[in-house]
Symmetry: C2
Subunit: 140 residues, 2 copies
DNA sequence: TAAAGTTGATACTATTTAATATCAACTTTC
DNA sequence: GAAAGTTGATATTAAATAGTATCAACTTTA
Protein backbone atom coordinates (compact mmCIF):
# COMPACT_ATOMS: atom_id res chain seq x y z
CA UNK A 1 0.00 0.00 0.00
CA UNK A 2 2.65 2.48 0.98
CA UNK A 3 5.24 1.49 -1.55
CA UNK A 4 5.96 4.30 -4.03
CA UNK A 5 5.75 2.52 -7.32
CA UNK A 6 3.66 4.30 -9.96
CA UNK A 7 5.23 7.08 -12.04
CA UNK A 8 2.88 9.92 -12.78
CA UNK A 9 1.71 8.67 -16.18
CA UNK A 10 0.64 5.35 -14.66
CA UNK A 11 -0.97 7.00 -11.64
CA UNK A 12 -2.88 9.36 -13.94
CA UNK A 13 -4.10 6.45 -16.04
CA UNK A 14 -5.14 4.45 -12.97
CA UNK A 15 -6.89 7.46 -11.50
CA UNK A 16 -8.56 8.36 -14.77
CA UNK A 17 -7.29 11.91 -14.84
CA UNK A 18 -4.59 13.90 -16.60
CA UNK A 19 -1.05 14.43 -15.44
CA UNK A 20 -1.44 18.20 -14.99
CA UNK A 21 -4.41 17.54 -12.71
CA UNK A 22 -2.31 15.29 -10.49
CA UNK A 23 0.30 18.01 -10.27
CA UNK A 24 -2.40 20.54 -9.47
CA UNK A 25 -3.71 18.52 -6.52
CA UNK A 26 -0.17 18.45 -5.21
CA UNK A 27 0.34 22.17 -5.72
CA UNK A 28 -2.93 22.77 -3.89
CA UNK A 29 -1.73 20.79 -0.88
CA UNK A 30 -4.19 17.93 -1.23
CA UNK A 31 -1.63 15.20 -1.77
CA UNK A 32 2.08 14.60 -1.23
CA UNK A 33 3.58 11.99 -3.53
CA UNK A 34 6.94 10.42 -2.82
CA UNK A 35 9.76 12.04 -4.79
CA UNK A 36 12.85 10.37 -6.11
CA UNK A 37 16.24 12.08 -5.77
CA UNK A 38 15.81 13.33 -9.30
CA UNK A 39 12.57 14.98 -8.21
CA UNK A 40 10.34 12.60 -10.12
CA UNK A 41 7.11 11.55 -8.46
CA UNK A 42 6.11 8.05 -7.46
CA UNK A 43 2.61 7.27 -6.26
CA UNK A 44 1.52 4.56 -3.85
CA UNK A 45 -1.73 2.61 -3.81
CA UNK A 46 -2.74 4.69 -0.83
CA UNK A 47 -2.12 7.80 -2.90
CA UNK A 48 -4.53 6.45 -5.49
CA UNK A 49 -7.17 6.00 -2.79
CA UNK A 50 -6.56 9.53 -1.65
CA UNK A 51 -6.85 10.84 -5.20
CA UNK A 52 -10.13 9.01 -5.56
CA UNK A 53 -11.34 10.67 -2.38
CA UNK A 54 -10.22 14.11 -3.59
CA UNK A 55 -12.10 13.64 -6.86
CA UNK A 56 -15.22 12.61 -4.98
CA UNK A 57 -15.03 15.64 -2.74
CA UNK A 58 -14.63 17.99 -5.69
CA UNK A 59 -16.84 16.38 -8.33
CA UNK A 60 -19.62 14.80 -6.28
CA UNK A 61 -19.70 16.70 -3.00
CA UNK A 62 -19.07 19.95 -4.92
CA UNK A 63 -16.64 21.34 -2.38
CA UNK A 64 -14.05 23.48 -4.13
CA UNK A 65 -10.33 23.11 -3.62
CA UNK A 66 -10.00 26.05 -1.27
CA UNK A 67 -12.85 24.67 0.81
CA UNK A 68 -11.23 21.28 0.96
CA UNK A 69 -7.93 22.82 2.00
CA UNK A 70 -9.65 24.77 4.77
CA UNK A 71 -11.35 21.62 5.98
CA UNK A 72 -8.01 19.83 6.12
CA UNK A 73 -6.65 22.83 8.00
CA UNK A 74 -9.16 22.07 10.76
CA UNK A 75 -7.60 18.70 11.57
CA UNK A 76 -6.48 19.10 15.19
CA UNK A 77 -2.91 18.04 14.46
CA UNK A 78 -1.66 19.19 17.87
CA UNK A 79 -3.96 16.73 19.59
CA UNK A 80 -2.84 13.93 17.29
CA UNK A 81 0.92 14.32 17.43
CA UNK A 82 0.93 15.75 20.97
CA UNK A 83 3.40 18.54 20.46
CA UNK A 84 4.32 20.74 23.42
CA UNK A 85 2.61 23.96 24.38
CA UNK A 86 5.74 25.92 23.53
CA UNK A 87 5.87 24.36 20.10
CA UNK A 88 2.23 25.22 19.54
CA UNK A 89 2.73 28.81 20.57
CA UNK A 90 5.20 29.29 17.73
CA UNK A 91 3.65 26.92 15.19
CA UNK A 92 2.22 28.42 12.03
CA UNK A 93 -0.07 25.42 11.57
CA UNK A 94 -1.51 25.76 15.05
CA UNK A 95 -1.94 29.50 14.75
CA UNK A 96 -3.40 29.82 11.29
CA UNK A 97 -6.42 28.26 9.66
CA UNK A 98 -5.94 28.39 5.92
CA UNK A 99 -3.49 25.58 5.26
CA UNK A 100 -3.15 22.04 6.52
CA UNK A 101 -0.06 21.53 8.68
CA UNK A 102 1.73 19.54 5.98
CA UNK A 103 1.77 22.59 3.71
CA UNK A 104 3.80 24.53 6.23
CA UNK A 105 7.56 24.64 6.57
CA UNK A 106 8.11 23.69 10.19
CA UNK A 107 11.22 25.18 11.76
CA UNK A 108 12.58 24.43 15.25
CA UNK A 109 9.46 22.53 15.89
CA UNK A 110 8.15 19.18 16.99
CA UNK A 111 7.42 18.57 13.32
CA UNK A 112 10.76 19.82 11.96
CA UNK A 113 12.37 16.39 11.58
CA UNK A 114 9.17 14.51 10.99
CA UNK A 115 8.13 13.51 7.51
CA UNK A 116 4.57 14.64 6.81
CA UNK A 117 4.23 11.90 4.25
CA UNK A 118 4.43 9.39 7.10
CA UNK A 119 2.53 11.43 9.66
CA UNK A 120 -0.85 10.24 10.89
CA UNK A 121 -2.24 13.74 10.48
CA UNK A 122 -1.66 13.66 6.76
CA UNK A 123 -2.30 9.98 6.21
CA UNK A 124 -5.44 9.32 8.22
CA UNK A 125 -7.59 12.39 7.69
CA UNK A 126 -8.24 13.06 4.06
CA UNK A 127 -11.95 13.79 4.13
CA UNK A 128 -14.79 15.30 6.16
CA UNK A 129 -16.02 11.98 7.51
CA UNK A 130 -12.68 10.92 8.92
CA UNK A 131 -12.05 14.35 10.41
CA UNK A 132 -15.41 14.48 12.15
CA UNK A 133 -14.91 10.93 13.42
CA UNK A 134 -11.59 11.94 14.90
CA UNK A 135 -13.19 14.93 16.60
CA UNK A 136 -15.84 12.64 18.06
CA UNK A 137 -13.15 10.33 19.39
CA UNK A 138 -11.21 13.19 20.92
CA UNK A 139 -14.25 15.01 22.31
CA UNK A 140 -16.19 12.35 24.13
CA UNK B 1 -27.34 43.45 18.65
CA UNK B 2 -29.79 40.58 18.81
CA UNK B 3 -32.92 42.58 18.21
CA UNK B 4 -34.65 41.61 14.96
CA UNK B 5 -35.28 44.95 13.35
CA UNK B 6 -34.29 45.18 9.69
CA UNK B 7 -36.68 43.92 7.02
CA UNK B 8 -34.95 42.24 4.12
CA UNK B 9 -34.77 45.29 1.87
CA UNK B 10 -32.96 47.26 4.57
CA UNK B 11 -30.68 44.37 5.44
CA UNK B 12 -29.81 43.91 1.78
CA UNK B 13 -29.00 47.58 1.44
CA UNK B 14 -26.88 47.60 4.61
CA UNK B 15 -25.06 44.46 3.48
CA UNK B 16 -24.58 45.75 -0.04
CA UNK B 17 -26.15 42.75 -1.73
CA UNK B 18 -29.43 41.86 -3.36
CA UNK B 19 -32.50 40.44 -1.68
CA UNK B 20 -32.35 37.12 -3.56
CA UNK B 21 -28.79 36.66 -2.37
CA UNK B 22 -29.88 37.05 1.25
CA UNK B 23 -32.55 34.45 0.68
CA UNK B 24 -29.99 32.19 -0.95
CA UNK B 25 -27.65 32.33 2.05
CA UNK B 26 -30.56 31.27 4.19
CA UNK B 27 -31.57 28.45 1.85
CA UNK B 28 -27.97 27.26 1.92
CA UNK B 29 -27.99 27.09 5.71
CA UNK B 30 -25.49 29.87 6.29
CA UNK B 31 -27.83 32.16 8.21
CA UNK B 32 -31.11 31.96 10.11
CA UNK B 33 -32.98 35.26 10.26
CA UNK B 34 -35.79 35.80 12.71
CA UNK B 35 -39.23 35.32 11.17
CA UNK B 36 -42.41 37.13 12.02
CA UNK B 37 -45.66 35.22 12.38
CA UNK B 38 -46.46 36.21 8.82
CA UNK B 39 -43.21 34.56 7.74
CA UNK B 40 -41.47 37.83 6.94
CA UNK B 41 -37.81 38.04 7.81
CA UNK B 42 -36.21 40.45 10.23
CA UNK B 43 -32.46 40.77 10.53
CA UNK B 44 -30.41 41.73 13.58
CA UNK B 45 -27.14 43.62 13.72
CA UNK B 46 -25.47 40.34 14.52
CA UNK B 47 -26.99 38.90 11.35
CA UNK B 48 -25.37 41.71 9.40
CA UNK B 49 -22.01 40.82 10.92
CA UNK B 50 -22.57 37.22 9.98
CA UNK B 51 -23.50 38.18 6.43
CA UNK B 52 -20.34 40.22 6.19
CA UNK B 53 -18.39 37.16 7.33
CA UNK B 54 -20.14 34.94 4.79
CA UNK B 55 -19.32 37.34 1.97
CA UNK B 56 -15.70 37.45 3.05
CA UNK B 57 -15.48 33.67 3.11
CA UNK B 58 -16.99 33.38 -0.36
CA UNK B 59 -15.54 36.40 -2.12
CA UNK B 60 -12.14 36.79 -0.50
CA UNK B 61 -11.24 33.40 0.90
CA UNK B 62 -12.75 31.78 -2.22
CA UNK B 63 -14.40 28.96 -0.31
CA UNK B 64 -17.59 27.95 -2.08
CA UNK B 65 -20.92 27.60 -0.33
CA UNK B 66 -20.80 23.82 -0.10
CA UNK B 67 -17.33 24.07 1.39
CA UNK B 68 -18.50 26.59 3.93
CA UNK B 69 -21.45 24.43 4.88
CA UNK B 70 -19.15 21.44 5.37
CA UNK B 71 -16.86 23.50 7.54
CA UNK B 72 -19.81 24.55 9.69
CA UNK B 73 -20.81 20.88 9.85
CA UNK B 74 -17.51 20.21 11.62
CA UNK B 75 -18.41 22.35 14.60
CA UNK B 76 -18.39 19.87 17.52
CA UNK B 77 -21.89 20.80 18.64
CA UNK B 78 -22.16 17.81 20.98
CA UNK B 79 -19.21 19.08 22.99
CA UNK B 80 -20.70 22.56 23.16
CA UNK B 81 -24.27 21.79 24.21
CA UNK B 82 -23.31 18.61 26.10
CA UNK B 83 -26.09 16.37 24.89
CA UNK B 84 -26.27 12.81 26.20
CA UNK B 85 -24.65 9.80 24.58
CA UNK B 86 -28.06 8.36 23.79
CA UNK B 87 -29.09 11.58 22.09
CA UNK B 88 -25.90 11.54 20.05
CA UNK B 89 -26.40 7.96 18.97
CA UNK B 90 -29.65 8.92 17.26
CA UNK B 91 -28.74 12.45 16.20
CA UNK B 92 -28.50 13.16 12.50
CA UNK B 93 -26.21 16.09 13.13
CA UNK B 94 -23.79 13.99 15.16
CA UNK B 95 -23.84 11.14 12.68
CA UNK B 96 -23.54 12.98 9.40
CA UNK B 97 -21.05 15.49 8.11
CA UNK B 98 -22.65 17.42 5.32
CA UNK B 99 -24.90 19.85 7.16
CA UNK B 100 -24.49 22.03 10.24
CA UNK B 101 -26.69 20.90 13.12
CA UNK B 102 -29.03 23.87 12.72
CA UNK B 103 -30.09 22.67 9.28
CA UNK B 104 -31.42 19.46 10.75
CA UNK B 105 -34.89 18.79 12.09
CA UNK B 106 -34.22 17.50 15.58
CA UNK B 107 -36.81 15.06 16.90
CA UNK B 108 -36.94 13.56 20.40
CA UNK B 109 -33.62 15.08 20.99
CA UNK B 110 -31.71 17.32 23.33
CA UNK B 111 -32.10 19.97 20.65
CA UNK B 112 -35.80 19.40 19.93
CA UNK B 113 -37.08 22.24 22.09
CA UNK B 114 -34.06 24.43 21.71
CA UNK B 115 -34.03 27.33 19.28
CA UNK B 116 -30.99 27.15 16.99
CA UNK B 117 -31.22 30.88 16.48
CA UNK B 118 -30.27 31.32 20.13
CA UNK B 119 -27.88 28.40 20.37
CA UNK B 120 -24.19 29.02 20.94
CA UNK B 121 -23.34 26.51 18.22
CA UNK B 122 -25.04 28.62 15.59
CA UNK B 123 -24.22 31.99 17.07
CA UNK B 124 -20.57 31.72 18.01
CA UNK B 125 -18.98 29.71 15.21
CA UNK B 126 -19.56 31.28 11.85
CA UNK B 127 -16.07 31.00 10.35
CA UNK B 128 -12.93 28.89 10.21
CA UNK B 129 -11.03 30.98 12.72
CA UNK B 130 -13.66 30.74 15.43
CA UNK B 131 -14.13 27.02 14.83
CA UNK B 132 -10.45 26.27 15.06
CA UNK B 133 -10.16 28.41 18.18
CA UNK B 134 -12.95 26.41 19.77
CA UNK B 135 -11.20 23.16 18.88
CA UNK B 136 -8.03 24.48 20.49
CA UNK B 137 -9.93 25.34 23.62
CA UNK B 138 -11.61 21.94 23.78
CA UNK B 139 -8.48 19.98 22.87
CA UNK B 140 -5.82 21.30 25.19
C1' DT C 1 -58.05 50.32 0.05
C1' DA C 2 -54.24 51.59 -2.58
C1' DA C 3 -49.20 51.63 -2.51
C1' DA C 4 -45.14 49.63 -1.03
C1' DG C 5 -42.83 45.70 0.52
C1' DT C 6 -42.24 40.52 1.04
C1' DT C 7 -42.88 35.68 -0.28
C1' DG C 8 -40.89 31.60 -2.90
C1' DA C 9 -39.81 30.36 -7.53
C1' DT C 10 -37.80 30.35 -12.12
C1' DA C 11 -34.73 32.06 -15.55
C1' DC C 12 -30.65 34.29 -16.73
C1' DT C 13 -25.70 35.97 -16.63
C1' DA C 14 -20.93 37.22 -15.60
C1' DT C 15 -17.15 35.04 -13.33
C1' DT C 16 -14.70 31.58 -11.52
C1' DT C 17 -12.61 27.27 -11.49
C1' DA C 18 -11.26 22.51 -12.33
C1' DA C 19 -9.23 20.38 -15.78
C1' DT C 20 -6.38 20.08 -20.18
C1' DA C 21 -3.12 20.88 -23.84
C1' DT C 22 1.16 22.24 -24.91
C1' DC C 23 5.89 23.86 -24.17
C1' DA C 24 11.22 23.59 -23.74
C1' DA C 25 14.42 21.63 -20.44
C1' DC C 26 15.72 17.64 -17.90
C1' DT C 27 15.84 12.37 -16.59
C1' DT C 28 15.30 7.72 -17.33
C1' DT C 29 15.31 3.64 -20.10
C1' DC C 30 16.97 0.44 -23.40
C1' DG D 1 22.80 8.18 -27.49
C1' DA D 2 18.15 8.09 -29.10
C1' DA D 3 13.43 7.45 -27.56
C1' DA D 4 10.22 7.81 -24.07
C1' DG D 5 8.88 9.92 -19.95
C1' DT D 6 8.96 13.80 -16.45
C1' DT D 7 9.69 18.55 -14.89
C1' DG D 8 7.39 23.21 -13.98
C1' DA D 9 5.06 26.76 -16.47
C1' DT D 10 1.73 29.12 -19.36
C1' DA D 11 -2.44 29.29 -22.09
C1' DT D 12 -6.89 27.58 -23.02
C1' DT D 13 -11.57 25.63 -22.33
C1' DA D 14 -15.89 23.61 -20.69
C1' DA D 15 -18.71 23.64 -16.90
C1' DA D 16 -20.18 25.23 -12.48
C1' DT D 17 -21.50 28.77 -9.37
C1' DA D 18 -22.59 33.10 -7.00
C1' DG D 19 -25.39 36.54 -7.79
C1' DT D 20 -29.56 39.06 -10.11
C1' DA D 21 -33.80 40.17 -12.34
C1' DT D 22 -38.30 39.23 -12.62
C1' DC D 23 -42.68 36.97 -11.50
C1' DA D 24 -47.58 36.43 -9.39
C1' DA D 25 -49.38 35.85 -4.77
C1' DC D 26 -49.47 37.60 -0.23
C1' DT D 27 -48.67 41.11 3.81
C1' DT D 28 -47.88 45.39 5.72
C1' DT D 29 -48.26 50.29 5.84
C1' DA D 30 -50.45 54.73 5.75
Amino acid sequence: MDEPKYPISVAAKLAGISIPTLRMYEREGLIIPYKKESNQRLYTDRDLERIHCIRQTINEDKINIEGMRRILALIPCWAIVHCSEEDRAACEAYNSHNKPCWMINHKNNFCSDRNCLECEVYKAYGNCASIKDKLKELLK
